[in-house]
């Protein structure tokens, strides 16, 4: 990846993180899970998906599904920065005059399918991948899942079926940020060795640092990996970019005050130290 491209992706990611912080101060959002997948989102929209606001309904387009619906602020931030939606709409977070709320919905251009109940979109995406195969299309379908989401049996049922139909136009991208809601995955329902689990289900698996754009480019330019479903396990840090939030079990859903959010912005830009413990912070 050229230095220029890398810099532009980093700048975009910083802006997306600013939007996430803003949404955490207007009624709150799932900030930790949103921050972990920013690079996945900005890379896919900028470099891989090849979508334009005008071609969002093209049946030959590449598809992105957000199955871990909690991280929708990262998606909305990216869509707003890339011109799919008006940035001003993000100010409508949790108001009744718009549809910007805690989970994705199809009232927002660029959202292919609603989510929020975990373990649904791998199956929906497999249906779309199957139809694309039946129509001999050469497009690609990506589903971002959480790691906690992999608890749901429906994910594994889908892999069995999708591999039976050799859906190598489907990629499951796991945001492996190591956390369920409030507990580390390995402390609750251990997932490792996750690579081996996916491989045992017949998938072709690659594992990368999910904050590294060069690594993302490498795995997304070498698709498909074989005749079955591709799996990319992206190792990430929950809360990435804000040291006061990073890898903390109690920073899942947060509702900050405006003042705290401006402190977080300074923290993001490296101009202030980490936000101290807050008494007004609402967490879930």
């Amino acid at each position: 990846m050229t230095e220029e491209k890398l810099q532009s992706l980093q700048e975009l990611s910083l802006k997306v993180r600013e939007h996430i912080i803003a949404m955490s101060a207007t009624g709150g959002c799932f900030i930790g899970a949103s921050l972990s997948c920013v690079e996945l989102m900005t890379y896919l929209y900028s470099e891989f998906l090849d979508l334009e606001p005008e071609t969002l309904k093209d049946p030959n387009r590449n598809y992105l599904f957000l199955s871990k619906g909690h991280d929708v602020p990262a998606m909305y931030g990216t869509l707003a920065e890339l011109g799919f939606i008006d940035k001003a709409r993000l100010d409508n977070h949790l108001l009744t005059n718009d549809s910007i709320y805690w989970h994705p919905n199809r009232n927002i251009p660029g959202v292919e399918f609603h989510s929020g109940s975990l373990g649904h979109l791998p199956a929906v995406a497999a249906g779309i991948a199957l139809d694309c195969k039946l129509k001999n299309q050469d497009n690609h379908i990506v589903v971002i899942t959480g790691d906690g989401e992999l608890n749901e049996g429906s994910v594994w049922e889908t892999l069995l079926v999708a591999n039976a139909y050799n859906l190598n136009n489907l990629t499951i991208l796991v945001d492996r940020n190591q956390f369920q809601a409030n507990i580390r995955t390995e402390e609750l329902i251990p997932l490792e060795s996750l690579d081996d689990k996916f491989a045992a289900f017949g998938c072709n698996v690659k594992r990368i640092n999910g904050h590294d754009f060069n690594a993302l480019e490498e795995v997304f330019t070498s698709l498909p990996y074989g005749k079955n479903v591709n799996v990319v396990i992206a190792d990430t840090v929950r809360g990435k970019g804000l040291p006061s939030i990073e890898a903390r079990a109690d920073r899942w859903f947060c509702s900050f005050t405006k003042d705290e959010a401006s402190q977080l912005l300074n923290e993001l830009h490296g101009t202030a130290k980490a936000l101290l413990e807050s008494e007004t912070l609402i967490v879930r």
Binding site: L94, W102, S117, I183, L188
Partner: protein, 303 residues
């Protein structure tokens, strides 16, 4: 005493209790410490949690199981019906953020058909407390009964001191000649305020907090139907299958009829937003409830 304190106390006193969650710990945060191996978190696996609870209950345990109401009742529905329902096991389902309480989460998280589907399972009891006081008053009976039960968990701080809970009975707050409002769950407080607004205009207003939707307190409802000009059902649930349907089924079975104003969600999911905005938008503030009732009263009197 709050939900968690009550459950902890009962579980410590009675070895049969097993507390389970599908990684929703909001209600049971401190229980891993106090309950040790009788606290089980199955991760995000609603179906497996219900199946395991049925297994545990078949050996004499009383599993009290937790998840968000929509995923507990709908993701795991067939497991509840088949493993808990057919076997008629005392599994106690605690559904968190039912109805409007899911505020800004969106339709995926809205349990507004839960009363309809859960009451459709033979033997399953369905409860909807008005607030935390009502919740902790009913739970000891609910949990110690030999039946499977679903509770629409609502631990909103109480502004009203409820009467002691009598199994299967509603709580009659007042009787009214002009109107009786039938309500359950979180909307109780707004219905109570709506009643006060209507009384200020000189109307005689009854209010019944149903508490239990299955079994339903037929006697209290029929008394209200016979004594009031207008019956109003207030619920954060779809019109289909909820309190309005329960009332219709009851009236038909008794060959009765009534003027009924249903205030429910009419065949659509509600607008996701912060809770106070939702109530305003969907017309469930005390003022809007009172205004709708007044309109209905005026239009029926003209006839």
């Amino acid at each position: 005493m709050n939900y968690e304190e009550l459950l902890t106390k009962m579980a410590l006193e009675d070895e049969r209790f097993i507390v389970m969650t599908a990684e929703n710990r909001a209600l049971v945060r401190n229980m891993p410490k106090t309950l040790g191996s009788r606290f089980i978190d199955t991760g995000i696996t609603e179906q497996t949690m219900v199946g395991m609870a049925a297994g545990l209950a078949s050996r004499g345990r009383i599993p009290v199981i937790h998840a968000l109401a929509p995923f507990l009742t709908m993701r795991a529905y067939e497991f509840i019906r088949t493993d808990v329902g057919i076997a008629n096991l005392p599994v106690k389902l605690s559904g968190f953020i039912p109805g409007f309480l899911s505020d800004g989460n969106g339709p995926t998280h809205q349990a507004i058909e839960d009363v309809a589907i859960m009451r459709g399972i033979p033997g399953m009891e369905v409860y909807a407390p008005a607030d935390e006081d009502d919740l902790v008053k009913m739970l000891p009976d609910v949990w110690l009964s030999p039946s499977p039960a679903y509770v629409r968990i609502n631990h909103k701080p109480s502004s009203y001191t409820h009467a002691p809970y009598v199994p299967g009975k509603a709580e009659t707050i007042s009787e009214g000649k002009d109107i009786t409002i039938l309500v359950y769950g979180f909307l109780f407080e707004n219905a109570l305020k709506a009643k006060e607004l209507l009384e200020k205009e000189g109307l005689s207003v009854g209010l019944i907090n149903l508490r239990s939707l299955k079994p339903i307190d037929e006697e209290a409802i029929i008394k209200a139907v016979l004594n009031s000009e207008l019956i109003v059902t207030v619920e954060d649930h779809f019109l289909t299958g909820g309190l309005y349907s329960i009332l219709a089924e009851l009236l038909l079975s008794k060959k009765l009829t009534a003027n009924v104003l249903p205030l429910s969600l009419q065949d659509k999911w509600f607008k996701p937003a912060l809770l106070n905005h939702v109530l305003e938008y969907e017309g469930f503030t005390p003022e809007k409830i009172a205004a709708k009732i007044k309109n209905q009263l005026q239009s029926t009197s003209i006839k």
